[in-house]
């Protein structure tokens, strides 16, 4: 199959390169493969002070954003599927955030959430709430980043789920309606099971994209305040471009990859087992 060979080429080449580089002392100062250091990079990585914190923050971020995006996204997708009028109007608005690229999203929200001069604090002030330190307080900053990510990416989930919902067959619903089932029962016992493959994919893709979240952090917080928003992709980026150590960054990426693969196959088996 031609598709297969292209895919393999596209996938294996960078993977192999990353794997290979992770075993060498390959820095931007001396980009040569002369210095084989085996697991040296991996060992060094474990000594990195804030790696554990970064992984933990990433985990929290991914779970928070995926869970919220899925729940809200499903609600919106169901609503979209149920209406007939104004559908295109809603659809267009839905698409808008996805078309705004992450750099602009980050800068826009930085402007809106400026603690002294931002319109958001002004508006909530009108409602009597004290101004919130959106990006300066470590705890708030984490949730701010989650919320911005949700604002930006939820439509992705909605589109996928909507595509799945709209390709569901009508019969089971008609049968259930005749049996007198309520909409909620229909949803739980018909929609969700039928949607399983689509839900799995949506969750998986969103999960992977969430782990790769980079631009929002880069633009809005640079991993701060402190280490509250230090996502792993930004961590690795710093190792590569500030620390100039591509070997180390490759090792971290490979380790991350193995972690994700493990989680993914677990999720896959789990979902398959429901059949």
């Amino acid at each position: 199959m031609p598709g297969l060979s292209v895919l393999l080429a596209v996938v294996v080449f960078p993977l192999g390169y990353a794997l290979l580089t992770s075993f060498y002392d390959y820095t931007l100062i001396k980009p040569t493969y002369d210095n084989f250091i085996g697991l040296g990079n991996y060992r060094g990585m474990l000594e990195e002070a804030y790696l554990g914190t970064s992984l933990w923050v990433t985990l929290k971020f991914v779970i928070a954003s995926v869970v919220i995006e899925f729940s809200l996204g499903m609600a919106v997708a169901v609503a979209m599927n149920a209406v007939t009028r104004f559908k295109s109007f809603y659809y267009i608005i839905l698409l808008a955030p996805l078309l705004i690229n992450p750099v602009v999203v980050g800068l826009m929200w930085r402007m809106l959430l400026h603690s002294e001069l931002g319109i958001v604090n002004y508006v909530i002030g009108l409602g009597g709430i004290a101004p919130i330190n959106w990006l300066g307080n470590p705890k708030t900053a984490f949730w701010t980043v989650v919320l911005v990510d949700i604002w930006h990416q939820i439509s992705f989930m909605v589109i996928l789920l909507l595509a799945g919902l709209s390709s569901l067959p009508r019969e089971p619903y008609e049968a259930a309606r005749m049996d007198g089932a309520s909409p909620r029962l229909c949803f739980i016992h018909i929609t969700l099971p039928l949607m399983r493959p689509v839900i799995f994919i949506a969750l998986l893709l969103r999960f992977i994209f969430a782990i790769k979240t980079f631009d929002i952090i880069y633009i809005m917080t640079k991993g701060g305040p402190g280490v509250a928003t230090d996502l792993i992709s930004y961590f690795i980026y710093r190792a590569a471009f500030f620390g100039l150590d591509i070997g180390r960054a490759s090792a971290m990426s490979v380790a991350l990859l193995i972690l994700i693969l493990a989680l993914t196959s677990y999720l896959y088996r789990y979902m398959r087992s429901f059949k």
Binding site: P14, A75, L117, I119, S167, P197, F214, S253
Partner: protein
């Protein structure tokens, strides 16, 4: 009464949702029509809007280049990636080629941070003179979207579709006819969603465009980022550019809408 509520409820949900999305964007539009001073003025003052920012991004900055490049690369990479991904997805769904391991490997290159992926690609492009070219960027974006699309489409090629296709085969159709007349139409919403996803991935992609592109091949994300100057963010220009980047899609979508609706509702039909 119940019927009225259940008819209105989805609309309420959607209206709330759309407002949350729309309001910040409307504010962005407001900033685009004023200047940096007004953007940060609290309490906000309202003045006569002007379109100077919109003019400036076209005259002083090559906005139209950025936009056209982005459109070209996004559409190009989608057109290349979608068929390839469909082939892959079909083979996964039908023959379970390689089983779970292969499917996981497919996605694994995308689990690496883009930083790691960009350097080998850069070296490759350097040797093949693909740097700073639009075809080069298209190929680079295909490498990103192909794994995702393949995975995405697999779920649309599984399930009841198999039964439908087999039913068509039993009725005497060849495999190709079955695919063309049964499988593809039923999977159409998925294909559309996948195409949309691929377009969006490419549209927003930044790192590859930065490193592998150049003056002749710069896309919107790179161009918009350059509004962050050493003297601060030129927020008014940035807002104008962001609005311009999104607006054309709003005009295009009503046309696409007809096809989208057909695709979305065909799936529900039998």
């Amino acid at each position: 009464m119940r019927r009225v509520v259940s008819a209105i409820l989805p609309h309420i949900v959607l209206i709330v949702f759309c407002s949350i999305i729309l309001v910040p964007l409307l504010w962005l539009l407001r900033v685009a029509l004023t200047n940096k001073l007004q953007a940060y003025q609290i309490p906000p003052e309202w003045s006569i809007p002007h379109i100077r920012n919109f003019v400036e991004i076209f005259t002083v900055h090559p906005f139209s280049d950025y936009f056209l490049n982005s459109v070209t690369v996004a559409i190009g990479s989608t057109l290349v990636a979608l068929p390839l991904a469909a082939l892959m997805a079909y083979s996964f769904a039908r023959y379970n080629t390689g089983g779970l391991p292969l499917r996981l490997v497919t996605l694994s290159s995308q689990m690496l941070p883009p930083v790691i992926l960009v350097l080998p690609l850069f070296n490759l492009f350097l040797k093949t003179s693909l740097l700073n070219t639009l075809p080069g960027l298209i190929i680079a974006h295909v490498t990103i979207s192909l794994p995702f699309l393949a995975w995405l489409l697999v779920s649309f090629f599984e399930g009841d579709i198999i039964l439908l296709e087999q039913a068509a085969r039993i009725d005497g159709a060849t495999r190709l006819q079955a695919i063309l007349h049964v499988t593809l139409p039923v999977a159409a919403p998925g294909m559309l969603a996948a195409g949309l996803l691929s377009f969006i991935l490419s549209w927003n992609e930044f790192l590859f465009a930065l490193i592998l592109g150049g003056a002749q091949a710069s896309t919107l994300p790179v161009g918009l980022s350059s509004f962050q100057t050493h003297r601060g963010v030129e927020i008014a220009l940035l807002s104008a550019a962001a609005i311009c980047a999104v607006l054309p899609v709003f005009f295009l979508l009503p046309f696409m809408r007809r096809h989208l609706i057909r695709g979305l509702s065909l799936g529900a039909l039998k």
